[in-house]
């Protein structure tokens, strides 16, 4: 029987959405064949989470230990390596997230299991796993074959697979004893640090004029500010703009910034990396201005302009003056 393990991501008492995307993918893949999908829930005091998961996974395997309360990859790795050695599933799926990126590579080295990270699709040819990866900033796809193995490890890109929806039918919950014996001082979780609450909240904006690295430098910002103002919107940005201190962190859109859902999102000089794009999918209309016709942002935008922003924005700014 084919068995797929999905690592459940949860933080501060909540299951993270990517978990349901992984379960959705696993369920579709198992489809008609004889197989079993199991969600692995590692934590402490997670009964309620297990119940919640059992609405979306046929089987939930729970390991509870005080040391699994917060995510410390050393303890997670200890538990997973014991579970994988014992059950030898065909596949362990994780998200390509702050969880998966911290854990998957070291686990794969420990157990000598082939791993492909940040995958956007998977298929099997016999027992051989083929992975599709998006490389060169999303402009190229790489078709990869993993070395044949009893068990494969994959981290899937978040935000691209439809999540598994809850069902009436309840899955079984199986409790496993914790294999953790020693407490380690090598790595300790201390605390979470919340993003500070600041003045303007871009996640509430109806119109966002969002600038990326492609605007070249902060000298162009006043023009974009003015445009945003005329439209009754706010200015937001991609990550490199914050990294370079052109705009403050609270303006950043993306997985490590804010998720936005404006009526209109205008992306200027933004290439469309998944870490950015995942967080704008709730926008009603996306307009992209980019001089590269192959920029991945055009794959998610509704309207596109292929040009240097300097040919377009000054004209647009004049045109919409007083439009608000």
């Amino acid at each position: 029987m084919t068995e797929i393990f999905v690592l459940v991501e949860h933080r501060q008492g909540k299951i993270r959405e990517v978990t349901y995307e992984l379960l959705g993918w696993g369920e579709r893949w198992i489809g008609q064949q004889e197989g079993r999908l199991t969600a692995l829930l590692l934590g402490y005091g997670v009964k309620e989470l297990a119940e919640e998961l059992s609405m979306r996974a046929p089987r939930v395997l729970v390991v509870e230990d005080e040391r699994l309360k917060d995510f410390n990859s050393i303890y997670y790795q200890r538990v997973l390596s014991s579970l994988l050695s014992r059950y030898q599933p065909l596949l362990l799926l994780m998200g390509h997230t702050a969880y998966g990126m911290e854990l998957a590579p070291s686990l794969s080295v420990e157990l000598d299991l082939p791993l492909a990270t940040d995958c956007i699709d998977l298929s099997f040819e016999g027992r051989q796993l083929k992975a599709l990866r998006s490389i060169y900033g999303g402009k190229i796809n790489a078709h990869v074959t993993l070395k044949e193995s009893k068990t494969y490890m994959i981290t899937l890109r978040p935000g691209i697979f439809p999540p598994k929806m809850p069902e009436e039918k309840k899955g079984t919950i199986v409790i496993e004893p914790s294999p953790i014996q020693e407490t380690t001082e090598r790595k300790r979780f201390l605390e979470y640090i919340e993003a500070p609450l600041t003045g303007e909240d871009i996640s509430q904006a109806e119109i966002l004029v969002s600038v990326g690295q492609g605007i070249g430098g902060p000298e162009h910002l006043p023009m974009f500010e003015e445009l945003a103002k005329s439209l009754g919107g706010m200015i937001s940005c991609s990550r490199p703009v914050v990294d370079r201190n052109w705009l403050p962190k609270e303006r950043q859109v993306g997985i490590s910034g804010k998720t936005v859902k404006p009526k209109i999102y205008i992306a200027v000089g933004i290439s469309g990396a998944f870490q950015h794009v995942t967080a704008i999918k709730g926008s009603d209309t996306i307009i992209a201005i980019n001089k590269d016709p192959r920029a991945p942002i055009f794959g998610v935008a509704d309207y596109g302009i292929v040009d240097d922003f300097q040919n377009v924005i000054p004209l647009l700014k004049e045109k919409v003056k007083g439009m608000k």
Binding site: E102, Y136, Y192, V312
Partner: protein
């Protein structure tokens, strides 16, 4: 504090036209501009800042072709003390890179290893954390602050949605560095000239006792352009005409 930084020379593709080689195994690279991987330049800067605060040495290491020496020179100009280039195996395999790095690093004294979170080209986000496991040292990934005290590091990891977590990690350790952790410093011409004087070593794979060049986990079958799928409606015409269309769209969608 002896710090090793792992760096890679990568092609800058965000604004470039890309073409695929005849054998379908890679993109054409002749017309591309190469530079230090963005994440790695933050890692090098961080290593130099830590050295300035706590003393010690910074060594930059790359596994790459002859041309990679130019990014090593850049690292030296940014303040690294020594550099090492290891010959590159023909592969598309993060584990193999990590294993080669581990083999070389095992013979060096170090307290801290820094890598980037990911490369701009292959983007595995895998080499750093694999390397830590190979060396048997603890790690933290996506790090955006490091403070060191009494043989321990307090590091901040970036999670999702603006949330961060604070960890304490015992040294020696490996951290994968996130962009924005520090402010890049302008590299002067004088610094580049000075860099030419610093130690840059090269080592072949055979010298390392490396015989098998086979990919360990993953082989690349082919590359392709992503299928067009749903594409934006591209507005056409002169800039004036485009802006007129755009204004109409904005008016309509604004409600």
């Amino acid at each position: 504090m002896n710090i090793i930084v792992c760096v890679k020379r990568v092609p800058k593709t965000a604004e470039a036209d890309l073409f695929i080689e005849k054998d379908g195994k890679d993109i054409k690279k002749d017309h591309l501009v190469f530079a230090l991987n963005d994440w790695d330049s933050y890692a090098v800067r961080e290593a130099v800042l830590i050295k300035e605060r706590y003393g010690g040495e910074v060594m930059a290491i790359t596994v790459g072709p002859e041309d990679s020496k130019e990014v090593l020179t850049r690292c030296l100009a940014m303040g690294a003390d020594r550099a090492l280039r290891i010959e590159e195996p023909p592969c598309f395999d993060a584990l193999l890179i990590a294993k080669i790095l581990a083999r070389v690093i095992q013979g060096q004294p170090f307290d801290l290893i820094l890598t980037g979170v990911q490369t701009e080209d292959d983007g595995w986000g895998q080499v750093g954390v694999s390397l830590a496991q190979l060396l048997g040292i603890p790690h933290a990934s996506i790090v955006n602050r490091i403070e060191i005290e009494n043989g321990k590091a307090r590091v901040k990891r970036e999670l999702e949605g603006g949330l961060e977590e604070l960890l304490e990690v015992r040294l020696p350790a490996l951290f994968t560095i996130q962009t924005g952790i520090n402010e890049p410093k302008y590299v002067s011409l004088a610094a580049i000239l000075e860099a030419e004087e610093k130690e840059m070593k090269e080592v072949g794979l055979e010298e390392l006792g490396w015989t098998s060049m086979e990919s360990l986990y993953a082989t690349l079958d082919q590359v392709s352009f992503p299928p067009a799928g749903k594409m934006a409606e591209i507005l056409k015409g002169s800039p004036e005409e485009i802006v007129n269309q755009l204004t109409e769209i904005i008016k309509k969608k604004k409600g």
